[in-house]
Symmetry: C2
Subunit: 451 residues, 2 copies
């Protein structure tokens, strides 16, 4: 069974309710609004909420949507269990009628959105959640948590894989992120083109390939570097990766090839001037006849360091801190805004566009949006078109949103590989300047067409 | 039952094994090292690992340790379940003898460390994990994940609460962090002096006070701001906080006091020039006789914005993005290093200090460390003293490490309030310049005393 099949088989097993419930990953104000709206009656007005961002992080040229698959799981598992209801009652977070409503809660509305792995721009309607105000408002926090984090990681990862070209990037940042965030980071990085992760839980839950051999501690544990290398080769075979910078690099490389022979799989360098050292180690490996032994580098890499190593004889990049912290932008600025709601709770009541309109940068555009990415004659994307009213027929082939949930049933689940392939295609269809690492404007302008 | 008692009662209920197991929150190389070391026999050498950081984030004057309590839970729950072992076998991560060893695994060694909430400096031995190489090496990733994330949040939170003085800070960042990281962030912020969180799961799991009333969506849902305010007051009473910046601020404040009367609890401003608006709203509230109505501000605050608002008539700060992203430093640089190991597996074999010694900044100091914070004659801390060998008698009263795990049994569990109080004391004992927000050197130098 391959890793993805194994993960798929396992997710079919129901998780324990307490483990799976996402219902309290929620800001208190959502439940107090719910209570007040249930009392005023407005809770039952049909409502449309949109997830979008007003801006990309400073200088970034595109965003990458990740987390949609996790959002679908979170919506399905958004059920209030007895222990949670007891706690809400004990703490007097909400009143009895609200507790009864929550006990029966499951989302029965519709969700459309950009599919996972897609790129995006300011104003792109990334997720549209539609249902009663009550059922949609309480999903705000968990949806934003997932999309803001996962997309921040995917955006950084996409810059790194673009800079790495055909060389593989390996995600190794678990130790620099919250232990569960690390798993989501590995997933987002895989969508954005990373080849593997060090994080076993990411392999277990999501079927992502895992990799890793040894740390400095393993060398220090043994009486000599030679003993350590011998022990590792005995256990893992000649194809393994030996870590060669615990003591003296040149001596370690010599010992490694002596002990493993010229068929040694790879060496890893984890400190120092990587460009210089990669050249030196490559020369030494070649002199020792280990022409196929690869060189993996892993010390505080980010997209700039990866790009700087393009001309060095490096065969793979292990990336940690920078990846799991979004390379300077550890979150996105996505918001979840009510953009339209029915004029009353009567069936068929007209939808009224709504928007905050106080002074300042936080105003938004009312009305349910569609989105399409218009290509030029050569098929290169030239604009992100976002509008209200009916989608113009000539843009229909380029529409970006897909159905994700219909009447409470998830219809948009897909294997991770689909999101990974989509990201490759979507990035490749952008103007070439998209993958320039220098700061710039979003590579596509967002054209707003209001009905 | 108060919130903390409720949380304590609930944690006594055993969680489902699948939910609780932390065993795969592990980098693959830990298990491959384990396999190779089991085979070479070195796995059974007695070993000492230390968690420390070589530097604080650029310009920060002290670090704040958080996550220790979560580490103790993670170590207790580090057990390999059948589904996990099956997956490791299926994916051929490790061989049969290693799987059998993992199936029986529980940590049986000792852990000492700085208690949670304590401040720290470069080189402080924050956690010392002692046992066989095998049992200690596989805890690396989960321990670092927890401490690196939680401490990054606590450090930012501590700067914010210092800048806020006696005004309460409220944690509202869940939507800007991974959904589980958000809960840990609320916990870390509470340790560093935050008064409350918006995150219900943080209340449910950790007994942290929760707070929150309404978002702009609630106003937009209703036919008018007046209807929305009336609905909220009907549901939550006069003591509630009304959000007054959806449309026109002055009109909203007038409406709020008209509808609620002068006993209105608070108003919240979430956009615009907060200093200017706070003065304006305070004047207006006072003119309307609402002298006791508080003003809460919540728009993209960080420690600098909080400090800048010190002279404005603000009664509380809601902090989101900046807090949960560590205010520019979303992780710490803590590492988990083998610092000593037995010369052999014979009982009583001598401990040999070990350290990486290749060129570059990643070298470290071998040997098990003690630590003490030396006060001056006035009781103000003047140095972080870290050493090997026996702890000097005159420093014994100022020793920083406490026992956390003895022979595999957790002995260092404490209520969150203890960590919160400790942080207040520890920060207050630092030189005054500790809480300056401008960039500077660590406020205490670390003195190294090698035996």
């Amino acid at each position: 069974m391959d890793a993805q099949a194994f993960a798929a088989a396992r997710t079919a097993v129901p998780t324990s309710p307490a483990a799976g419930s996402t219902a309290l990953l929620t800001d208190r104000y959502e439940l107090t609004m719910l209570q007040a709206a249930l009392r005023s009656g407005a809770a039952h007005r049909h409502s449309v909420f949109e997830v979008f961002t007003r801006r990309l992080p400073d200088g970034r040229r595109y965003g990458v949507l990740a987390g949609t698959g996790r959002v679908l799981d979170a919506v399905e598992n958004f059920r209030f269990e007895t222990a949670q209801l007891d706690w809400l009652a004990d703490q007097r977070v909400v009143d009895e009628p609200t507790l009864r409503w929550l006990a029966d809660y499951r989302f029965r509305g519709d969700i459309h959105g950009y599919p996972e792995g897609e790129v995006y721009f300011p104003g792109s309607p990334l997720l549209t959640v539609e249902g009663s105000f009550a059922e949609a408002v309480i999903l705000e926090t968990v949806i934003l948590s997932i999309l803001n984090f996962d997309s921040a990681i995917a955006a950084a990862a996409s810059r790194m894989t673009a800079a790495a070209g055909t060389r593989p990037c390996i995600e190794m940042g678990a130790r620099r992120a919250h232990e569960s965030a690390a798993v989501a980071a590995a997933r987002a990085a895989y969508i954005a083109g990373f080849a593997a992760t060090s994080d076993l839980q990411a392999g277990f839950l999501h079927g992502i390939p895992t990799t890793g051999t040894a740390a400095h501690a393993f060398t220090l544990l043994h009486d000599s570097e030679r003993d350590a290398f011998t022990a590792q080769l005995d256990s893992m075979g000649t194809g393994t990766t030996l870590l060669v910078d615990t003591f003296d690099l040149a001596e370690a490389v010599r010992t490694a090839v002596e002990v493993a022979g010229p068929e040694l799989g790879a060496v890893r360098i984890d400190s120092g001037d990587l460009t210089l050292l990669a050249h030196r180690v490559r020369r030494q490996l070649d002199e020792l006849g280990a022409h196929k032994t690869r060189i993996i580098v892993t010390s505080d890499l980010d997209e700039y360091a990866i790009a700087a190593l393009a001309a060095a004889p490096v065969d793979g990049y292990g990336v940690g801190t920078s990846l799991v912290t979004g390379s300077g932008h550890p979150t996105c600025a996505m918001v979840y805004k009510l953009v339209a709601r029915a004029a009353s709770t009567e069936p068929g009541a007209a939808l009224v566009p709504v928007a905050k309109r106080s002074a300042g940068a936080k105003s938004s555009v009312g009305g349910r949006k569609w989105a399409a990415r218009r290509p030029d004659a050569e098929g290169v994307a030239e604009a992100e078109v976002v509008g209200t009213g009916p989608l113009p027929a000539q843009l229909a082939p380029h529409a970006l949103q897909v159905p994700l949930v219909r009447g409470g049933e998830v219809v948009g689940r897909e294997p991770l590989s689909a999101a990974r392939e989509r990201h490759q295609r979507a990035r490749a269809a952008l103007p070439l300047s998209a993958t320039q690492l220098s700061k710039g404007e979003p590579v596509l302008a967002t054209e707003l067409r209001l009905a």
